[in-house]
Symmetry: C2
Subunit: 146 residues, 2 copies
Amino acid sequence: MADDPLKLDTFICFALYSANHAMNRLYKPMLDALNLTYPQYLVMVTLWEEDGQTVGGIGEKLFLESSTLTPLLKRLEAAGFIQRIRSKEDERQVLIHLTSEGVALKKKAASIPACILDASDHTVEELTRLKAEITTLRAALSKNAA
Amino acid sequence: MADDPLKLDTFICFALYSANHAMNRLYKPMLDALNLTYPQYLVMVTLWEEDGQTVGGIGEKLFLESSTLTPLLKRLEAAGFIQRIRSKEDERQVLIHLTSEGVALKKKAASIPACILDASDHTVEELTRLKAEITTLRAALSKNAA
DNA sequence: TACAATTATTTATCGCACGATTTAGGCAAT
DNA sequence: ATTGCCTAAATCGTGCGATAAATAATTGTA
């Protein structure tokens, strides 16, 4: 039982799966108030950091395909948070711009981080280190995926 | 920019989100070969560890609701891996039993852990420790969710 | 000009997840 | 025995995310 190879494997993947799940549940009520889903929130965060990115650029940062992003972005556009504008320089590209409502949303989201930190029972330093380790793992997994 | 509160928050949640995502992608081809999805795989693992669990019991271990599990279990039953049998002792409960095919599937899944470990570029010890830390974080998040 | 590469969209399909409700069975008290 | 409460699972409705594969439009190049 202890040396069952299906054990460790399960738990490292399961740890990620369930922690992500728990994070989702924690965010849910706060994001509901903003009319955002979790992946949509991630997109908004990248836009708050840098407006006017292309679909592909956002996808590169979030590791999402355009076939996932396009409908998601349309929902954000329908909600009034962004505008999808085809680039003049390269008409293959679509630039994503925040609307004034999209910009305003950042203020409402500003209180979220403190809530997460608080619920984590961790210090900022601990979370930062853990974040880095998880990111390192992700990078390895991605690299060796193909 | 550096003290933007939306930064840290994003990244601890995003680290989990994207690492889970990467893990999913790594599993996908292997699980496709077994005719399983990721959550279905998790259910199978819990059954390989202990057969004959109730729906609620499985949900408790995986943090899933019956409204999520019931259809998932029906798909596993349709695939021939499990059987759903109402308990004689308490007819409110449904016991999930592996079929012979479900048991046999464990052998085919046995090679997965090594692949994951290999792709992680980590030692078993490192993964074990990281797993523990992530699990601790999950516990805190769950506890403070309500 | 023809061909290749890039960018995003579309189409089709599927499963997960949640909330709210419902059904059925168990359990306890009066 | 009936009432009422609790629990377990299923159901219903809804929506999003994700992937794969094909398509379209534009750009760049041989």
